[in-house]
């Protein structure tokens, strides 16, 4: 595949203004699907959670999942949206083998929620208000797996398999209005926006919000125009960018790619593009025009959704605090400096640390572990932290073991490695690998006596009150104990032993 030429990012921003628009699909975690009673579960055997309805069999009819409507309204309310007095389902007609009925039951001109807004803080500390155009309900499609061929894409595949377990899973699609004026921070804003959406739906409890499982998926629209030009540039839509880091990179890539094309007089093609995490680039998908005709019409098999005012107010009363307010509260609660807290938010670790603290860890310890060792490992493995196989409660357990003196920092890092390798919970790993700090004073004293006997001059110095001299003994003892000793305790014992003798 020919490599795109990219303009230097800062140079691109000098000449062009960036306009982005974001469409985020949130998979709801209802027990059952949107329009049938099939289980909504990730990872089951293919085509086991299916029925005549979600397979689009002749004669089957949809029945709306009330919980999905409730959750959609909650999302709308959390985004400061108006909730429609009458929301109608519509059919979006197109043929695709993962779409059982060859139409998607969605919403068109009467979405359940519309006209909202959300404040988004970017890493520089600047706050942008992103306007929400609409949030509407729809069903997910099945999952295609393309077999054969080198790319795993439909082109070149020998055949494709469809898993309809995902067909009919409830989705809420949140669409922003065009976002202007983010300048060189547009990529960060895009990622921060999706981070906030993820945080909101997670805190509402309406979605598992795991991007790596596709619970939250983002399509990023990017266009650029020469500064001062009123007419919007041609946009591209980069599909299914499935991590926050990728969103940032994909938006940045598109800005640079488009800037290069425009600067050499080449027109931008309106199209969908695919993001390739491996080579950090987008590639052309199918051309998309405004004439893409989905022949929307009101779904005749469903009656309109008409949530009562009372119900909406009841739901509003159950909303958790807004992300910005929550952040302020947590920073105060944890006593983090502005710098520390921003680092936490930008590393996308707020929920992890919150959960770790809730599991019993001290805030600074939780912060230290997540932004330190865990983040380092994720980085070295080129993964999102959420992709690592460690839970907040496990981190809390490690922090607790250190806090109580049962582990040294070095041992704790070893335990962490064990957890990530799937060896079990921290306590099990400590036991299995024999990592616990030697707290048996007898063993320590034996080692201390041996070292002191070998270094009588040090013993003398300590006795004279030159306590710093103990450092050499401690070092030697720790070495003798292969690090599995608590240095502070060793120090205590050395001084005690020296003065006794």
């Amino acid at each position: 595949m020919a490599k795109d030429q990219l303009m230097d990012y800062q140079k691109a921003l000098e000449t062009y203004e960036v306009v982005i628009g974001l469409e985020v699909h949130v998979e709801l975690n209802t027990n059952t699907k949107m329009f049938c009673g099939c289980a909504n579960v990730f990872g089951d055997e293919p085509n086991t959670n299916v029925c005549p309805n979600c397979l689009g069999f002749p004669g089957a009819m949809p029945a709306v999942n009330g919980k999905a409507i409730e959750n959609s309204i909650k999302i709308g309310l959390a985004l400061d949206c108006e909730i429609a007095a009458t929301g109608r389902f519509a059919r979006k007609n197109y043929f695709y083998p993962d779409l059982a009925k060859n139409f998607q039951t969605s919403q068109y001109d009467e979405p359940i929620a519309f006209e909202g807004k959300i404040d988004i803080e970017v890493p520089s500390g600047k706050v942008f208000t992103v306007e929400i155009e609409r949030a509407h309900m729809e069903e997910d499609a099945g999952k295609l797996t393309h077999v054969g061929g080198s790319t795993g894409r439909i082109q070149g595949a020998e055949f494709s398999l469809v898993d309809f377990n995902r067909a009919g899973v409830p989705l809420v699609e949140i669409v922003t209005k065009p976002i202007y004026g983010a300048g060189d921070e547009a990529p960060e804003l895009a990622a921060a926006y999706v981070r906030s959406i993820r945080e909101i739906v997670k805190n509402l409890g309406v979605s598992d919000a795991r991007m790596e499982r596709g619970n939250v998926r983002c399509d990023a629209n990017v266009s650029i125009r020469p500064k001062g030009q009123e007419k919007l540039g041609t946009r591209t839509e980069t599909k299914n960018v499935n991590s926050l880091r990728s969103i940032e990179r994909a938006v940045k890539y598109e800005i640079q790619r488009q800037a290069q094309l425009l600067s050499q007089g080449t027109a931008i093609i309106q199209e969908t593009r695919h993001w390739h995490e491996d080579r950090g680039a987008t590639s052309s998908g199918r051309p998309k025009s405004d004439a893409d005709d989905y022949r929307y019409f009101p779904e005749p098999d469903l009656v309109p959704v008409q949530p009562s005012k009372e119900w909406i107010e009841q739901l509003r009363a159950t909303l958790p605090e807004k992300p910005a307010i929550r952040r302020k509260r947590l920073q105060e609660l944890w006593g983090f400096s502005d710098l520390e807290f921003r680092d936490v938010v930008n590393s996308d670790l707020l929920d992890e640390i919150d959960d770790t603290v809730k599991a019993g860890a001290k805030p600074q310890a939780a912060r230290k572990w997540w932004t330190g060792e865990v983040a380092r490992i994720a980085n070295s493995e080129d993964k999102d932290i959420t992709e690592l196989a460690i839970t907040p409660s496990q981190v809390a357990q490690i922090a607790e073991l250190v806090e109580s003196g049962k582990l040294t920092d070095r041992l704790a890092r070893e335990v962490l490695t064990g957890v990530l390798a799937g060896e079990g919970d921290p306590a099990e790993i400590v036991a299995k690998r024999g990592l616990e700090v030697v707290s048996d004073d007898g063993a320590l004293l034996e080692a201390i006596d041996k070292v002191l006997a070998e270094q009588p001059e040090v013993l003398e110095k300590i006795r004279e009150g030159k306590v710093q001299a103990a450092g050499a003994v401690i070092g030697a003892v720790m070495k003798a104990m292969a690090g599995s000793a608590d240095a502070a305790r060793v120090r205590e014992l050395v001084i005690q032993r020296a003065t006794e003798k």
Binding site: G59, A60, M61, A63, N93, F95, F297, V303
Partner: protein, 499 residues
């Protein structure tokens, strides 16, 4: 053999008194099917074993003294667009040939719960698109009154089965007249209930906002009993009415029309209607007036746009409903020449699996929904729908029920209109408004047209949820006519010689 001439209500009484068994009735019915069906083609599938097993089961239950429903043991025919577990369901289309549904339509489930043996699945125009059964992929059904003629469509399988004693009662579906027109041209009673009165779950959809399942029978009481058996709210159909509409069986016991205001729809009489049809229709009205009913004239000017609106809405919905027939999950799969892609397989399958009328309507509906045309076509058609509802609401302020001939003519000859889709569409002029407005309608036989000795039907309409009014007036008119003729409608029918 005389069992097969009995009505469902007569059979019900005979079963209750243990005068006969369900197995006897069912066997006699199957024998008659085996004799007539090869010629008339009412049934696409005859389910001998299933029917007899069900009959045996209900007989055993009755012997044990189990409390059974009124129609328990009375065999029934089911239109082939309702899904039936274990029984091939094609909706008259080649694209579903051999498809055995894994689930039952709600109506089928109710039939089974009522312990009515299922005789088989009846023929129909492909996906219910047509007025003659000539669009069936499996050949047309013939009209028992004249085998050269159509038994109407799309439910000509059910109407011809009931008219030729191959079933006492049958299930039909009515999107623009598919129950009522076949009833009119075969001398049977057909009812399209209020939209939502009967669950559509498991009905292979044509026009989802128009489709309604209903009874086909040889008299008003039988239709009433069957409507009672199949109607009611259903969580599987979001458009099903949450409330019950009361007992149609009770309504069909009515014996008076004194003070009933009957509105004649001005736009559905006179010009364009066959003389013999108009004559019988007028005669029926005279009988009702003589019994104390009052005739008022009402006008529904919007009806002139009904066919145009219908032939936008119905194909639009059908184009979407039929998109699922793509060979991926069920039904026919045709491999194209050369390298197969999923698009090519879908296209080849639909090219071969769908008949010309289905393709015509898919193209029409796809066009009507296209961006840039939506407002002019689908949007305007929906406005006409609102106008028709308003006209009917106004008419029902003046009258309790409305009346017109069910169809402009008696049964037409097979092949007569097949090359002229517009002429075929115009046939539904009187029946379509009820579907567009969601109101109930009944076609009742009112005698034979003198020029061709073929059955004529009168259609009554009532406001939504007032289906009982149809049965009340229908029951009285039926009695008045039978008294006048000194026999039943079916007694006029010629003896069928099929060998």
């Amino acid at each position: 053999m005389s069992f097969v001439n009995k009505s469902a209500s007569e059979l019900s009484a005979m079963l209750a008194s243990k005068e006969i068994s369900s197995v006897e009735i069912t066997q006699a019915q199957l024998d008659n099917i085996d004799r007539l069906n090869p010629k008339i083609n009412s049934y696409l599938t005859v389910t001998h074993e299933i029917a007899l097993a069900q009959a045996k089961e209900v007989d055993e239950l009755r012997a044990k003294g189990e409390k059974l429903s009124a129609l328990a043991g009375v065999p029934i025919a089911v239109k082939d667009n309702l899904t039936t577990i274990g029984i091939e369901t094609t909706a008259g289309s080649k694209i579903l040939k051999g498809w055995i549904p894994p689930y039952n339509a709600t109506v089928v489930q109710k039939i089974l719960a009522n312990r009515m043996p299922i005789l088989g699945k009846t023929n129909m125009d492909e996906f219910a698109m047509g007025s003659s059964t000539e669009n069936s992929a499996y050949g047309p059904s013939l009209n028992p009154w004249d085998l050269k003629r159509t038994p109407g469509g799309s439910g000509g399988g059910s109407s011809s089965a009931v008219a030729s004693m191959q079933a006492a009662i049958a299930i039909g579906s009515d999107t623009g007249g598919s129950i009522r027109f076949p009833a009119a041209v075969t001398g049977t009673v057909g009812v399209k209930p209020t939209y939502g009165a009967v669950s559509r779950y498991g009905l292979i959809a044509l026009g989802s906002s128009l489709d309604q399942i209903g009874p086909v029978a040889r008299n008003v009481m039988d239709a009433a009993m069957l409507q009672d058996a199949i109607s009611g709210p259903d969580a599987m159909d979001a458009t099903s009415l949450p409330e019950s509409l009361g007992s149609m069986t009770e309504a069909a016991k009515n014996d008076s029309v004194k003070g009933l205001k009957i509105g004649i729809i001005k736009e559905l009489t006179g010009e364009g209607f066959q003389a013999g049809v108009s004559e019988r229709f007028q005669e029926a009205l005279d009988l009702l007036v003589a019994s104390g009913a009052e005739i008022v004239e009402v006008s529904c000017p919007s009806f002139q746009y009904a066919i145009a609106a219908y032939y936008l809405i119905q194909p639009a919905e059908a184009s979407s409903n039929l998109a699922r027939f793509d060979s991926v999950r069920f039904g026919l799969r045709v491999m194209p020449e050369g390298a197969a892609t999923v698009e090519k397989v879908m296209a080849a399958t639909r090219e071969e699996g769908f008949g010309p009328e289905v393709k015509r309507r898919i193209i029409l509906g796809t066009y009507a929904l296209s961006s840039g045309y939506y407002d002019a076509y689908y949007g305007s058609a929906q406005k006409v729908r609102t106008l028709i509802q308003a006209d009917l609401a106004k008419a029902f302020e003046k009258a309790n029920v409305l009346v017109s001939p069910t169809a402009p003519t008696t049964a037409f000859l097979l092949g007569e209109k097949q090359e002229d889709p517009l002429a075929m569409y115009l046939n539904d002029i009187a029946t379509i408004p009820a579907n567009l407005a969601g109101v109930p309608g009944m076609s009742l036989p009112v005698g034979l047209a003198k020029e061709d000795n073929l059955p004529v039907g009168a259609q009554f309409l009532a406001p939504a949820r007032e289906d009982a009014r149809l049965y009340k007036v229908g029951a009285v008119l039926e009695k008045l006519l039978e008294n006048k003729w000194s026999k039943k409608m079916m007694d006029f029918a010629p003896e069928l010689r099929v060998n």
